[in-house]
Amino acid sequence: MDFFIKYLLSILIFFPLASVILLLFINKKNEGLLRNLASILSLVEFIFSVYLFVYFKPDTYKFQFVEKLNWISTFGASYFLGIDGVSLFLILLTTLLTFVSLISSYRYIKDHVKEFVILMLILETFMIGTFASLDVLLFYLFWEFMLIPMYFIIGMWGTGRRVYSAVKFVLYTLSGSLIMLFGLIYIFILHYDQTGNFTFNILRLYNTHIPINLQILLFIALFLGFAIKIPVFPFHTWLPDAHTEAPTAGSVILAGVLLKFGVYGFFRFAMPLLPGATLMLAPIVIIIGVIGVLYGALVSIVQKDLKRLVAFSSVSHMGFIMLGLFAMSVISVDGSILQLLNHGITTGALFLFVGMLYERAHTRQIADFGGIAKKAPILTTLFMISVLASIGLPGLNGFVGEFLILIGSFNHYMLLTIIAASGIIFAAVYLLWMFQRVMFQGITNPQIESFQDMDLREIITVLPLILLMFLIGFYPAPFLERIDPTVVHFLGMISRHGYIHNLIKLKMGLSNA
């Protein structure tokens, strides 16, 4: 057991890969076995990850479950893993959503089941690796390879213009990542110039002293990489396409986990590595974030396609998270991180429901639906809960996160926070209006007449997510108490550089700004 706990992160990373090797030996024709085995293995993986939660010490910001091995000593890169309160929950979210999306795809994925489950498990390996690595090169390795399985999932099992969307997804994120890599290598070289050591250890790179002008340029480089992934407003165009064409499982993972990497990247790399630039550029980033909130919300209102609507609502929600993160007060950052989880849970659930509707009616157009409430009461109830969670109804998870973000940012950015708060109202508009058109009204589409309610497998698929919505909504303390020390430490790291920032402000006559 000691061994298990000590190397838990490595086990979590490589267990899905080992499962892939097992699955490779199963005959392609035996689709039932492949599906069940993959689901069971991903459930085992989730149970393993619960051990992380159990053995995690909540009252410290220090990295836990640390593993360190030499990897490429010439570059000072090491196999360096460790998690803090933030990556803990993101890893849990990853394992949960992988399990959920594997069982959700029993009906949707009919061809090439073997390839599908293998790609999902490979994807899981790389997602967990990205969250767990504390070495920049290792992080980048996991981060970029993740694109490839996702690309295949969209391109092979997608609908409509799937190839276009998949290629667009890869090229967008790849260009961003490469520019980000440029920035990261530059910091690595700067650290070498200052200390004479090559190291990719993020904890050491934090101590690199970078002149403020350079910080701003590097921040832009890193910003491009992470912002495309989130995606922040002007870089979001790949997201609706990818989401719309991806299979349900792909959408769930994409919205639930992949979008989180951008924010995680800001949290772990961009902001602590370049604190001066972060303090200077925070207002601009927040403005971009608030534009994203409004833009995403307004565009969602006019969407005719269900998946596109949920996809644009993601843009809006991610804008919120950016606002909270860059407002840089303890409460708002806490809220941001919690909202990351919430967004993964609720948007994942929304995509699952859209997938269920699509499997039954073979359409995603809102106009084609109507009157489902009469035919499928369970689906309607659970869908309603997810919609309300996404809107931010008190008692459900979305409220806690959004509320924390808003009160946290209000002190520093009053006007922008007020504008952003209107995003919640818009969310109510587009989601409830959508819900009304899809679920109520009369039945116009003859296909709806034979609409079936959710079966047991589908209920199992969404139930963990629904339970989590209530849990976080009513009792967020176990989450917040683990996130909080990390966030406090994170803000401490940035504000150490606060005095430089104030100096610059004084110099520019902006001390009141």
């Binding site: 390795l141 290629v167 090229l171 260009s175 070289i189 499997e359």
Partner: protein, 526 residues
């Protein structure tokens, strides 16, 4: 390092012979293979093929025995040191993989076999001589030797118009390059009075430090000579303005020979350029880095744009090799220990990923000799899962996606260039590699995600309604030229070797980095 002659108490000539043992082995075997032609029965079988493989193994054995030593041979015109060892191994691997993948391919044509293998062996030997040569005349001779075997091999498919045309183009342009090379050597000789690279090096160091009276005159001669020499070498490295032969020659040549040119010739040309550059270019005669900077950017941009436009897989790989040459050059520009060892690492990584990709091309070419169009790759991902997965991996490696050697190589050379503060260059290179990913992905799209119209609905039985997206992934029928055939085991060995090294160099590159570091250390061991 111990001087071998002191240890074994051998004389001058013996030491000279010792320095070329790996090459000699190859040449002897090349002649043996050639003589097999006299015996009709022997030459018809697979004997030449096996003999060539054995010769490469022997040569590798001798290299391992001699590695770590520094041997000067033939009055200093040949130097065997750690630098050569690294590149010998790269070249021998390139030759080994080429021979392995030739067997199945070349039997499809009515051409004499023993000569083919012996030419490949001669080519390998010439490249090894080129890498270890340390004298301008020796450089010229071995480049000529290498080029002539390459010309013959390019046009080896007698009666095939494209092959002949390619050979002719390659020959004419190649001769032109040789002229530049010899002209450049003349100028360098005129300026310095030496042909030996070490002597030229010391001469330049001396005049640079002491400040000769007529240094300016010498400088002009030297600059002209070095520029002309650079042009000649850039030809062989297929850098942008001198690349014109590359697409045609690569396209027209038999595919194993294309692989040989893309890997072996490129390694040898870059290696000798690296040696010459580090010895005699890198002084304040003029700023060659600016010229290389331009060449690198032009090569990668042009290569990528042209590759994007091409629909023939061999042409695409040819253009992509021009782009890759640009990336490799970034390492040389970056310079220093870091940059040069990065260049070597990238060259070795390049051998495996390119050879792997060409092996897959050959597999599908063997099934149908015309299936070089990328469109014909439609749907093979499901028909040949292992081969297609391997191809995907090699293409991702060429695109520089992590977990592959291509990423590590790019990371290595680019970070070296950032270390020397060539920021703009690296930024352009990064944008280029993002751009390049598009055409590599285009092939993967064809393999795994064929469009519906491109498929003839096969009688797959389960037409599962138009519901899920997966349904349009039905397997393509045999009409696309890929008939079921047995894949030659030689090709599979090539693919597995390449996969193994591409993965290993991507996951745990430390071994190769140490090796590259070691070999670079001997570069300055004048």
């Amino acid at each position: 390092m111990l001087d071998v002659s002191q240890v074994y108490n051998i004389n001058f000539l013996e030491e000279g012979m010792l320095s070329v043992i790996p090459e000699t082995i190859i040449i002897i075997f090349a002649f043996i293979v050639l003589f097999l032609t006299f015996f009709e029965k022997l030459s018809k079988s697979n004997n030449p093929y096996y003999l060539s493989l054995i010769s490469i193994g022997f040569s590798m054995l001798y290299i391992l025995m001699l590695s770590g030593r520094t041997i000067d041979g033939f009055y200093g015109s040949i130097v065997f040191n750690k630098f050569s060892v690294f590149l010998f191994i790269g070249i021998l691997f390139s030759g080994f993989l080429t021979i392995l993948m030739s067997n199945n391919y070349i039997n499809n044509f009515e051409v004499p076999l023993p000569e083919y293998y012996s030419l490949i062996l001669f080519g390998v030997a010439s490249m090894m001589l080129l890498v270890s040569s340390n004298n301008l005349i020796m450089v010229f001779l071995s480049i000529e030797f290498m080029s002539i075997t390459a010309y013959i091999l390019t046009g080896y498919l007698k009666g095939n118009a494209r092959s002949t045309e390619a050979a002719l183009k390659y020959f004419v342009l190649g001769t032109f390059a040789s002229a530049f090379l010899i002209f450049g050597s003349v100028f360098i000789y005129a300026a310095t009075g030496h042909l030996n690279l070490y002597n030229i090096h010391f001469f330049i160091v001396n005049i640079a430090s002491k400040g000769f009276v007529n240094f300016d005159n010498i400088k002009i001669y030297l600059a002209i000579g070095l520029i002309l020499f650079l042009v000649g070498l850039a030809f062989k490295m297929s850098l942008f303005p001198f690349h014109a032969w590359t697409p045609d020659a690569y396209d027209g040549a038999p595919t194993p020979v294309t692989n040989f040119m893309a890997t072996g010739v490129k390694i040898a040309a870059f290696a000798i350029f690296l040696r010459i550059f580090s010895l005699i270019y890198n002084f304040n005669i003029m700023n060659f880095n600016n010229i290389l900077w331009l060449l690198a950017i032009l090569s990668m941009s042009f290569g990528n744009i042209a590759a994007l436009m091409s629909s023939n897989i061999k042409r695409l790989l040819a253009y992509s090799s021009i782009a890759q040459a640009g990336y490799i050059l970034v390492g040389i520009i970056g310079g220093g220990y870091y940059g040069y060892s990065g260049t070597l690492f990238y060259l070795l990584a390049y051998v495996f990923m390119t050879a792997g990709a060409f092996a897959v091309v050959i597999i599908f070419e063997n099934f149908d000799l015309m299936s070089l169009d990328i469109k014909k790759y439609s749907g093979i991902g499901y028909k040949y899962p292992i081969v297609a997965a391997a191809m995907t991996f090699f293409l991702l490696s060429l695109a520089g996606i992590p977990v592959t050697s291509g990423f590590m190589g790019k990371f290595y050379v680019f970070s070296a260039a950032i270390k020397s503060r060539y920021n703009l260059l690296v930024l352009i290179a990064f944008i280029n590699s993002a751009f390049a990913a598009f055409y590599y992905i285009k092939i993967i799209v064809q393999m795994y995600m064929p469009e519906k119209e491109e498929l003839i609905a096969s009688s797959n039985g389960a037409q599962r309604g138009g519901m899920s997206g997966g349904t349009n992934l039905d397997k393509p029928s045999g009409d696309f030229g890929i008939v079921n055939g047995k894949i030659n085991e030689g090709l599979m060995i090539v693919i597995f070797i390449c996969l193994f090294f591409t993965l290993l160099m991507g996951i745990y590159p430390q071994l190769f980095i140490n090796f590259a570091h070691n070999s670079i250390s001997s570069l300055w061991n004048v």
